[in-house]
Structure formats: structure tokens, C-alpha cells
């Protein structure tokens, strides 16, 4: 076969890659160097003006970024703890094991936006059943309009929705663990707690790191929950980076500026995840 013909087979894949990845990123970079908005549509060139504005005159983006970090780290941490606990629970032979496995997965099978609407109704401060219960004790917590409680509600919904994903990955990991180290550990005098600390947890480290990174990437895009539940409010107390970029781009139509926000967000995220992955490897993989 002619050497050049080999490249013909790569062409469809390369074209798809170009269409769905390289072109959008390239276009967004170019867009971020323009002042394209609803008044002046067009790819003019304003240099790094949008970026200078972002770093010098837009504390709201960085506050949203800080909030996003808090929300995503908290939700993923809780998802990991609860998901690991549930996986450990149904890992060993227990009664109704299969039923529990299916039950734990149900939240993940539901449509996130619809479930968030259900949660919003649930936490409605005057009509929701949660406050009906709290009213019995003379309390009426502001689940969606208090600065702190609204964050808690977002975290709760995210944890409820995505813990099953963590559970599924960790259970698959637990089921694939070799049995032999457990035999050795019991003979070597390690009880159930020490066996978990010295055998299960370190053996699960690579799977745990993978699961945490996947969920952190997903959680950092948190948008639909915030949009439906609080619309970023009260004020900007639940506004996350992606929601802020959405507001700048699709509500205020500052396409050029929101493109600069997106590119900055992408770069910061890549750096953050690289650092987080390295920290996780150091923390979780013993003896490396």
C-alpha cells in the first residue's frame, strides 16, 4: 500500500477531532481576543483587553471560582466517603445485597434537571414538605434563600444525585481486588479496621484517585443544579464559574468576554486537576 494512502484512513477521525475539539477551542481563543457582543457583533481584535479586565476588574468571577472550588471539593469528598461506605456495605455477602445495589443506583438513573425541580419543591420554604416538618419544632430554615443554607442545599442535591456514580466505580474496584492479601492480613494479625486501613484502602488508591478526578471534573461543571435550584442566588451566594460564564455569554451576550472567561477557566482547571491528582497520589498511594 502506498505510504500516503495510510493517512487517508486517519482522515475521518482527524476531521471529526478538528470539527468537535480543535476548531471550537481555536475559535474560542480568537473570540476571546475580540469585543464581540450584542451591540458590536464581529471578530474585531482588541488584544488581551478581555483578559486584563478579568484579572483586574472582575472579582465576581474569582469569587464564583472560589465558590465552585468549595462546592465541588465538598460534594466530591462527601460522595467519596458515602459512596465508599455503601460500596463496602454491599461488597461483603449481606442479605438483600442485590436489592441494595440497585437501590443505591436509582438517583443516578434519574434526570438531573427534573430531580432538581423535585428537590426545589421539596425545599420550598413556604410550601415544601421539609419545612412542614421543621415547622413542627417552630423552625423555618431558609433552604434556598439563606446564603449558607442555599450552599448546603446545592451540596445535598449534588451528593444525592452523584454518590451512586462513585458507589458504582468503587464497588467495581472492590470486587476486582485480589483475595490473597486479605488471607495474609487476617493471618498476620490485622483485624477488620486495620485490614481496611492497611490493605483495602491502599489497594483501592488507584481506583479512588480515578473516581475522585472523574467526579471533580464533573462537579466543576456544576450548572444545571444551581440554575434550577437557586439561579445562583440568593445574590451570588451559589453562583459558580460556569453559571457566571453562562450569564456573561448567554444573558448579557458578551461573547468576547465570556470566551476569555472560558479559556481562563479551562487553563486554571487543567492546572488545578494536575496538582490535585499529584496530591492525591502522594496522599493515597503508600510506599510509592
Amino acid at each position: 500500500m502506498n505510504f500516503k494512502h495510510k493517512y487517508m484512513f486517519l482522515l475521518p477521525g482527524l476531521l471529526v477531532l478538528l470539527a468537535i475539539l480543535i476548531f471550537p477551542i481555536g475559535f474560542t481563543v480568537r473570540l476571546s481576543l475580540s469585543s464581540w457582543d450584542s451591540f458590536y457583533p464581529g471578530l474585531d481584535f482588541i488584544g488581551l483587553e478581555n483578559y486584563i479586565r478579568l484579572f483586574t476588574d472582575d472579582s465576581r468571577f474569582w469569587e464564583a471560582f472560589g465558590r465552585l472550588s468549595l462546592l465541588s471539593l465538598t460534594t466530591v469528598f462527601l460522595q467519596y466517603i458515602i459512596g465508599f461506605s455503601l460500596a463496602l456495605l454491599v461488597w461483603k455477602e449481606i442479605r438483600f445485597q442485590r436489592l441494595f445495589r440497585v437501590l443505591f443506583l436509582i438517583p443516578m438513573m434519574t434526570t438531573p434537571v427534573i430531580m432538581t425541580v423535585v428537590w426545589r419543591t421539596f425545599f420550598n420554604e413556604s410550601l415544601g414538605p421539609v419545612n412542614d416538618f421543621f415547622n413542627l419544632f417552630g423552625m423555618q430554615p431558609l433552604w434556598l434563600s439563606s446564603e449558607i443554607l442555599s450552599k448546603f442545599t446545592v451540596v445535598l442535591v449534588e451528593v444525592w444525585q452523584w454518590t451512586p456514580f462513585m458507589f458504582l466505580l468503587l464497588l467495581a474496584g472492590l470486587l476486582s481486588l485480589p483475595k490473597e492479601p486479605y488471607l495474609a492480613a487476617s493471618i498476620d494479625g490485622a483485624g477488620p479496621v486495620r485490614t481496611f486501613v492497611y490493605v483495602t484502602f491502599p489497594l483501592m488508591a488507584p481506583i479512588s484517585i480515578g473516581a475522585i478526578i472523574i467526579r471533580l471534573i464533573e462537579a466543576s461543571k456544576i450548572m444545571d443544579t444551581v440554575y434550577v435550584l437557586t439561579s445562583g442566588g440568593p445574590g451570588t451566594s451559589t453562583e459558580t464559574s460556569s453559571f457566571y460564564i453562562f450569564i456573561k455569554g448567554l444573558r448579557e451576550f458578551q461573547f468576547g468576554y465570556s470566551a476569555a472567561l472560558s479559556i481562563t477557566y479551562l487553563v486554571v482547571m487543567i492546572i488545578s486537576f494536575t496538582v490535585i491528582a499529584k496530591i492525591l497520589v502522594k496522599m493515597m498511594v503508600r510506599g510509592e
Binding site: 490473597e180 495474609a184 487476617s186 493471618i187 490485622a190 488508591a205 498511594v285 503508600r286 510506599g287
Partner: protein, 359 residues
């Protein structure tokens, strides 16, 4: 310090994995459990370790009930036939693991781990990852982990079975040295094997197991000389002892109309009648004045030849010195060294042995 098992039984569905097993073991002794695959050896070791609970019967160690003590609190070390280690830890961390669980001081852990690693020939391997070691080295790590505990009971479940021939031979010799030191200390060493040669080499006390039962417990010498049944003779010999039905009639042993020979002197006390006779492969030889047999197969093993021959319904295996080739279907003359003949009753019980057992 004794380990006493009383009537241990474990049954899965209809099959007994342990069937009324009783024994007594004392410190300073090596016990080899020998039996074929599925004889119940591993089940017995796991029961002693506490990894399996017996359906009935009990274990007592030093006069205390062993059954109520959880696995991790029993002072036991175990080496398995698979190379079982902690894959995420280094060699040093693997060997130190049982000591860390006991909360022993760091300096003492360091001293004991170093000693155990050098004892198994892995002195400079402490920092290596388990996956970076060969099978033999991994098994040495497991052995070092069992030694470092200074456990009261050390269980070795066919530890050499997954190693290649050369390494098995080498480790077997090293084991003997290590075990002698260990057993002379304060431990009961229990070694399980399917290999009669291994069992005989290790010496000590041998427990012969089959279908979950202990058929015989005696010294290696006693088992070799006086196996209490035809089954024991087969399990403890490689190749298995030749067994053939015949009669004692008018001072002769009659195996077939053509194969008759004089009664050896050690059979003089036996009555006339039907018996099952046993003869080790090494007691079969070629002799021009022997009985006519046809060759079924000849196998060369090292510097010896296993010769499988047949005369009508009578099939025997002989072990001949040196490498010899025999064409399949060829004729050979076989001599039975009757000085080494065993007589078993038709139900398998030993009636007479060349070493003076029973009559």
C-alpha cells in the same frame, strides 16, 4: 505446648472435607500432612488458622479452646501455595506487616525483619516492590513474613508447588535448614504436600490424609516401612506402590497361572487365601529368568526410567536405573524382589510388611 484436634468435621453439601479428624501435635516437631488433591489438607490448615470453622469437633491449643479465638488473635503464621504477599508494599514493609499489627517497637521490627530477610536469602531486597520479584523470591518473602512473627504454629500449605523444578529442589533444601532451627525453638510446624518425596525428605511426623480423613499418623520411617493400608502405601510412594490381587497357595504366591513365586520368609505367618500384594517400583527389575511382560510405556525421568508393563490383567510400574529405551509392545522379562513384598487384606488393611509390621 500441644495442639489437639478432636473429631473435626466439615461437610459441604454431601461431601466431607474433614471427616472426624483427630490428632495431637507438640512443639519442636515438624508435621507433614500428605494427601492427594482434595484430600482435605488445605481445609485442615485453614481450620487450624481459623479461616474456616468446623461443623463439629474442636481445637485446643495449650489446653485452651482455639475455636473461640478470631484468626487475627491466633499466634499463627501461614505460607500458601500461591505467593501471597501485599502487592502495594515493599519487601521490607511486607515482612514488617505482622509485627506492626502487634505494635512492636520500630527498632525491634527493623532487627527482626533484617534477620528474617537474610535467613531466606533476601538481604538486599528490602526496598524492592513485590511485583519486581520472581516467583521464588515472592515465596521467600511470604516465608520471611511467617518466620518474623515467631508464631507458635507455622502452617505451610504446599509452599513449593507453584515453583519450577530446580527452584523447588533448592528451596526444599533451604526450608529443611530453616525449619530445623524454627522447630527446635518454640513452634509447631505443619507442612502440607502432595509429594511423597518432599514429605519423606522433611522427615518428622507424617499425617496421611484421604477424603477428609487421617488414615495414619506416624514417623516418616514408620509410614515408609509399615503403611497401615494399601491406600496409604499408594499416597506415600511416587510412583504409587504396585498393587496386585493374588493368592497364597501351597507355599507360593500365585498372581496368574503363569506368574507364581515362592513365599518370602516374612510371609510365613500368613494363612492361605486371597490377598492384595504390594511392591514398590524400585523392587521391580529386568531379569532374563523373570516373568514375561509386554511394554506399555517407558518414561525417562532424570537419570531413571519408569517402565509400565502388562501381563494380561496385571499392570505394574518399575523404576529402572539409567536412561533406557523400550519399544511399546516389546517383550521384557520382569523379576519381583519378593523380599520387599507387602501383603494387604482384600479390604486394604496391612497384613505383613518386609519390615516386620503385623502378621
Amino acid at each position: 505446648m500441644t495442639l489437639i484436634a478432636s473429631n473435626l468435621s466439615i461437610k459441604y453439601e454431601r461431601n466431607f472435607h474433614l471427616n472426624d479428624v483427630s490428632f495431637s501435635m507438640s512443639k519442636g516437631e515438624i508435621y507433614t500432612i500428605i494427601g492427594r488433591t482434595l484430600a482435605g489438607k488445605t481445609t485442615l490448615l485453614k481450620t487450624i488458622a481459623g479461616l474456616i470453622s468446623p461443623d463439629s469437633g474442636g481445637l485446643a491449643f495449650d489446653g485452651h479452646d482455639f475455636g473461640s479465638i478470631p484468626v487475627w488473635k491466633r499466634e499463627i503464621a501461614m505460607v500458601y501455595q500461591q505467593f501471597i504477599n501485599y502487592p502495594h508494599l515493599t519487601v521490607y514493609q511486607n515482612v514488617a506487616f505482622p509485627l506492626k499489627q502487634r505494635g512492636i517497637q520500630k527498632t525491634e521490627i527493623h532487627r527482626r525483619v533484617k534477620a528474617a530477610l537474610s535467613q531466606v536469602g533476601l538481604g538486599g531486597f528490602g526496598d524492592r516492590k513485590i511485583q519486581a520479584l520472581s516467583g521464588g523470591q515472592q515465596q521467600r518473602v511470604a516465608l520471611a513474613r511467617s518466620l518474623v512473627k515467631e508464631a507458635k504454629i507455622v502452617l505451610l500449605d504446599e509452599p513449593l508447588v507453584n515453583l519450577d523444578y530446580k527452584l523447588r529442589e533448592q528451596l526444599r533444601e533451604e526450608f529443611r535448614g530453616i525449619f530445623d532451627t524454627k522447630a527446635s525453638e518454640d513452634s509447631i510446624l505443619i507442612y502440607s504436600s502432595t509429594d511423597p518425596v518432599e514429605a519423606m525428605q522433611l522427615g518428622g511426623q507424617i499425617l496421611v490424609m484421604d477424603e477428609g480423613r487421617i488414615l495414619q499418623q506416624a514417623s516418616a520411617k514408620e509410614i515408609y516401612e509399615n503403611p497401615i493400608s494399601a491406600k496409604v502405601s499408594q499416597i506415600t510412594n511416587d510412583p504409587a506402590m504396585n498393587l496386585f490381587d493374588g493368592r497364597i497357595e501351597d507355599g507360593c504366591i500365585v498372581l496368574s497361572p503363569e506368574i507364581k513365586f515362592n513365599l518370602p520368609s516374612h510371609f510365613n505367618g500368613l494363612p492361605q487365601g486371597d490377598f492384595t500384594f504390594g511392591l514398590r517400583a524400585a523392587a521391580i527389575s529386568l531379569d532374563d529368568n523373570g516373568f514375561p511382560f509386554s511394554v506399555e510405556l517407558s518414561e525417562i525421568s532424570g537419570s531413571e526410567t519408569f517402565l509400565h508393563v502388562r501381563h494380561e490383567g496385571l499392570k505394574i510400574v518399575g523404576l529402572l536405573n539409567l536412561v533406557q529405551n523400550f519399544p511399546v509392545g516389546g517383550k521384557v522379562s520382569i523379576r519381583f524382589d519378593t523380599k520387599h513384598l507387602y501383603a494387604f487384606a482384600r479390604d486394604g488393611r496391612l497384613k505383613s510388611s518386609p519390615y516386620g509390621g503385623l502378621q
